[in-house]
Amino acid sequence: MRRRAGLGAIQKQKLEQVKYREKGSEIQENQFQQMSKQLEVFRENLEEFATKHKNEIKKNAQFRRQFQEMCAAIGVDPLASGKGFWSVLGIGDFYYELGVQIVEVCLATNYKNGGLITLEELRTRLVAARGKAKKHQEITNEDLLAAVKKLRIFGNGFTVVPMGKGKWLVQSVPGELNLDHTLVLQKVSSLGTAWVSNSILMDDLGWTQTRAQSALSYMIREGLVWVDTQDPNETLLWFPSMFADCVSA
């Protein structure tokens, strides 16, 4: 190409570069859309296959592995049995599958709710993660409760607490592994006040009312805190173990 000189040429070159770049991002955008479409097709197909051909897939060891790999890459749940005839009698995989999915939802949301989730939210998340098919929408709270019941033999590490009015709270972290109380203690010692209240936990740690309440009532039960009802707004809880630090500070 002949080299051109002058201001006009430089401007022209710049213009060209911009155009090339635009074209480049356009192509990329296009490609991304294509990929997203393929992902959708893949997802639908995998979901369908998982339901229809479960037993055949199970039989072939090598293919089973490959199927699992595909599901993992695309984010499809291979466990998608419907509530068949047998599941009514508690036989079959349906409730086990549901159980796995329930624990999974709890684990995945653990980091923000501390192992406490309402049955309603649990169901919404579970259904969303299971797939789009209609039969997934039909999973009821009763199904979930029945599935959780099967986990009872693991002791009370995974429990459903009735909240009245048909509402339930699922607790997935046993007290021994619950770090919420440690978080409360950390919060108090960083405040340097030796007391804490519901609203502090909710505002500062972003907890829900239920989570804050359950952590604090546990501490009251265990005798770790003293209850102070003098504040007109809300109950304050004092940590005797931190009095000394407070005074000396």
Binding site: N30, Q38, R65, Q66, A73, F154, L177, H181, S241
Partner: protein, 403 residues
């Protein structure tokens, strides 16, 4: 071991040397092999292993193509992870037909370990990780050389009119070829999903395509889905068990539980180490089943298998807390170990309350108290019960009488 090939230590075209390390032993799965005290060379395409000095001289050595490796992890030396990682575990995909002969024809394992006498050099691990992620061998300049050993990249390409001899240039050319590629992929997906047998035939291609798509989308969007649950699911399933133990393959229930216990221990040791050595059984059950895929086990089966962990000398065991919650824990969490650990902390801090310990050790208050009570029960701590609550001190009787 069956993925290795014997080959003269020479670089392919387009292949580059990355890093080397000495005193490396190869394990076939968990078994020792005759290949000890060797030298490992990492290239952009392969891992080479040879007796010291053999590789620089270009003599015959062992070669493992990196495309077999789909994930790597570090393994610690002792059970308690003292002294840093000693081994790298390479998880391998099945060996491909048409490979050159190697030291073994078959192997029951789908992973192998490289054991480093002086511990794993983090830089080596990083380099290996990067080399696998970079997939240098898929870049076009190397296709010609890897063709001779039937690389999966060639078979992974979607079938259809992708092989183009026409040379196009310009932006339109690029656009058109991208479009064509998409069309080919679309087509191969729709063919593969016609019915199950078709899908089984094309499974390998489809796995590759699914991974390519998700990689591309991850790159652009961060992850395949906004949903926490879907992401977590995806992660859990990618840690799959190749060959889940099933009831049908065992004659009696007790054999079945034994097998299950063994697999459980193999799978969970690493997981437990990553998450503080303790995990609730519900959590374990979910992870195990996700890794098994479609072969679910019931909570009862898991509990029975857990009870057998001690009889097979597994490094983990079942524990039931006084509250009734069941957990799986590493043996480093066993009473004696805990007491030793806590009494050390007592010496350091002079006195500990459950609250204080929970903050030091980052465990729950309940567990901290449990640990202190265990220590007390084993005679390594003394309690001080007062208005301010329960506190523990080191047991001076032990020390005084010893000196």
């Amino acid at each position: 071991m069956d993925r290795f090939e014997y080959i003269e230590a020479r670089l392919f075209e387009g292949e580059n040397y990355i890093k080397r390390d000495k005193n490396v032993k190869i394990y076939d799965g968990d078994d020792k092999t005759q290949f000890t005290d060797g030298e490992v060379v990492l290239t952009t395409h392969r891992i080479l292993w040879g007796k010291p000095g053999d590789i620089p001289r270009g003599l015959v050595c062992l070669s493992l193509h990196l495309y077999y490796v789909f994930c790597i992890e570090e393994e610690s030396g002792g059970v308690f992870g003292l002294g840093g990682p000693k081994r790298i575990i390479l998880n391998l995909s099945p060996s491909l037909p048409g490979k050159r002969p190697g030291p073994a024809v078959v192997s029951t394992y789908h992973f192998l370990k490289l054991s480093f006498k002086d511990g794993v050099d983090p830089a080596f691990f990083k380099a290996l990780y990067d080399a696998i992620a970079a997939k240098e061998w898929e870049s076009p300049s190397t296709v010609a050389t890897s063709l001779s050993v039937s690389s999966p990249t060639t078979s992974a390409k979607p079938s259809g009119p992708t092989v183009n001899s026409k040379i196009r240039s310009g932006i339109v050319g690029i656009e058109r070829s991208i479009e064509e590629q998409h069309r080919a992929t679309d087509q191969s997906i729709s063919v593969a999903f016609q019915d199950l047998t078709k899908l089984m035939e094309k499974a390998k291609d489809m796995v590759a395509i699914s991974k390519a798509i998700s990689a591309k989308i991850r790159e652009k969007q961060g992850d395949i889905s906004e949903d926490d649950t879907v992401r977590f699911k995806s992660y859990l399933m990618s840690l799959g068990i190749d060959d889940p133990v099933t009831r049908d393959t065992f004659r009696s229930d007790s054999d079945y539980y034994m097998g299950l216990a063994q697999q459980l221990s193999d799978m969970m040791v690493g997981v437990l180490m990553d998450c503080g050595g303790i995990m609730s059984l519900a959590d374990v059950w979910c992870r195990v089943n996700r890794a098994r895929g479609l072969e679910l086990i019931s909570p009862e089966d898991l509990l029975n298998a857990c009870k057998l962990l001690q009889t097979i000398d597994a490094p983990l065991s079942l524990r039931k807390f006084p509250s009734g919650a069941c957990v799986l824990q590493l043996n480093s969490q066993r009473d004696e170990e805990v007491a030793k650990n806590i009494s050390g902390l007592l010496e350091e801090n002079e006195t500990l309350t459950p609250v204080k310990l929970s903050q030091i050790a980052n465990v729950s208050v309940l567990l901290a108290r449990e640990h202190l009570l265990i220590t007390e029960r084993l005679g390594m701590a003394c309690r001080d019960e007062s208005m301010e609550g329960l506190a523990f001190y080191p047991n001076l009787f032990l020390r005084e009488s010893a000196s």
